[in-house]
């Protein structure tokens, strides 16, 4: 049985092109959710958020927010379908977006992942 860690990850859109990005362990932004850092404590989540605001001010990203996610077998899965679609691309165009560029999440958008 695999261990599931629950927490929050941080996302935003990259300012210059709008791409969906996730805040990583190394303190930058990645297009792939699996690179995201997962804050498992409220305090860590708050710290993340303030980093996000800094990067908004630095005009790297825009629209920063936290979302609920879990880590299973080393992969991060968003709990809400909206965020899963953001980590993958449109469910009706599997040829487009992160899922087509090898940057998609390891879980499908629809339930049952």
């Amino acid at each position: 049985m695999s261990i599931t860690e629950k927490g929050q990850a941080m996302t935003a859109n990259r300012l210059r092109d709008g791409a969906v990005v996730f805040f990583t362990r190394s303190g930058d932004w990645s297009e792939a959710i699996d690179a995201a850092v997962l804050a498992t404590e409220p305090q860590a989540a708050r710290a993340l958020e303030s980093r996000g605001k800094d990067d908004e001010r630095a005009t790297l990203v825009t629209g920063v927010y936290l979302f609920d996610a879990e880590r299973r077998d080393g992969h991060i899965r968003a709990l809400h379908i909206r965020e899963r679609i953001r980590t993958l691309g449109p469910t009706v165009r599997l040829d487009l977006g992160k899922q087509a560029e090898g940057l998609g999440g390891a879980f499908p958008a629809e339930n049952g992942g």
Partner: protein
Amino acid sequence: MYRYDEFDYQFVRDRTAQFADQARRRLAGELTEDEFRPLRLMNGLYLQLHAYMLRIAIPYGTLSSRQMRQLAMIARRWDKNYGHFTTRQNIQFNWIKLEDTPEILAALADVEMHAIQTSGNCIRNVTTDQWAGAAADEIADPRPVAELIRQWSSLHPEFSYLPRKFKIAVTGAPNDRAAVKVHDIGLRLHKNDKGEAGWEVIVGGGLGRTPLIGVTVREFLPQHELIAYLEAIMRVYNLYGRRDNKYKARIKILVHELGPEKFRAEVEAEYARRPKQETEVEERELARIAAYFAPPQFERLPRWSPRFEEARLANPAFARWVRTNVAAHFADGYAIANISLKPEGGIPGDATSEQMELVADLAERHSFSEIRVSHAQNLVLPHVKRDDLFDLWQALSGAGLAASNLGLAGDIIACPGLDYCTLATARSIPVAQAISRKFADYDRQQDIGPLKINISGCINACGHHHVGHIGILGLDKKGEEYYQITLGGSSATSASIGQIIGPGFAGHDVPDAIEKILDTYLKHRQPGEEFLAAYRRLGAQPFKEALYAAH
């Protein structure tokens, strides 16, 4: 066909240059997002689920071949090779980069297009009948008046900061194809007893959170009074509109809170108070605009086209397409060809660059380079010789553009929903695809007859679900998508808001639910009775039983 005049041309150029500077300052960190957001929205640039989205205005849904080719080029060069035609007769590109946007706007300006007034609390682009200037049942082409309204309302200082966005629709035909009763203001041309044409002015319709049918404030307004009268309506709205509450700020709330009588009295009082307007300038202006919309040089043709009739007899697939997708034109020997953007299992309203280019070529060859976008997310070639219909159909067939389903079960309206839209509560497109597949069979669609299935991915109702004969609204219930079904809506002349039939369904159960509804209709209908008429006669009960009876 209408072209921008010199004033517009310079204005759009200036606006493009301004936006280029604003975008540069934003990227350089000189503007914050809060400062920049209203500026980008004013230029049609939204931030959506996966990227920026650019919404481009197509005034009254009219495009030239040249403009369509430019849209195809933009999709190929700066997006992912496709665009999405919307229920507002606009086109949206889903994968736009902020840093590319100034160049894109410049490319649009090259073909007299822009993305102004597709957002914000202003008078939005005016919509109209997609068959304007072509339909056999039309009294007059409504586009000159739509254009007059556009010019009057574009950046009108008094109306740039309205309590809320404002949508106007205009129809010049008795059969309303522009949904005038569910717009903030709807204008319907009709004739009085003396045979003179005038406008019925309908105010306070709308969809969204509070769907309402508009009320008629003037039964018959002579054309030369139109702008002055609209101004009086806007003044009353500006004065009393609820700026304190976003959800109560649309004019429909004002009209229905005051009551139609009181609202009408306020408008008439304001109108009477105004100094007697000089309408001469306006009439001259209208005549000038109308010249731009002068009908193309139709050939004098016989009504009967042997070539067309022969092709129809020889080719059943062509005959099927003609039956559903071709409509009557006022000029003998011509027809209106509707191009369905709803192939079986497809994404409603999406077209690839190659498809756009093909349509542009075909319009050039067969329709005086003119193309229309319909609010049902389809395209139209408005002026095709009947002699040419078979060639046209063959070319469309080769590009997946010959779905024979206009106005039938497969012609589903669906907003982008959760696959693209940041406001969505559920997906719309996959539901449309599943229903489209289930009812793909042509004979079955024909048997069911005229049917409008409309799907929205949230309460904002961009998919116009309230006025679908069958409406589907996607909602979020504890993180799961589920769908509420409404029946009996219509945006046609006898408009009505659909009623919720009962508890919602999971997405994968929706197609079966639709099938049960339609089976109930088929079982109970009288000879020749369409779905909507049958629903109005039968009421909700038999449908409820079919959907929810314990098995």
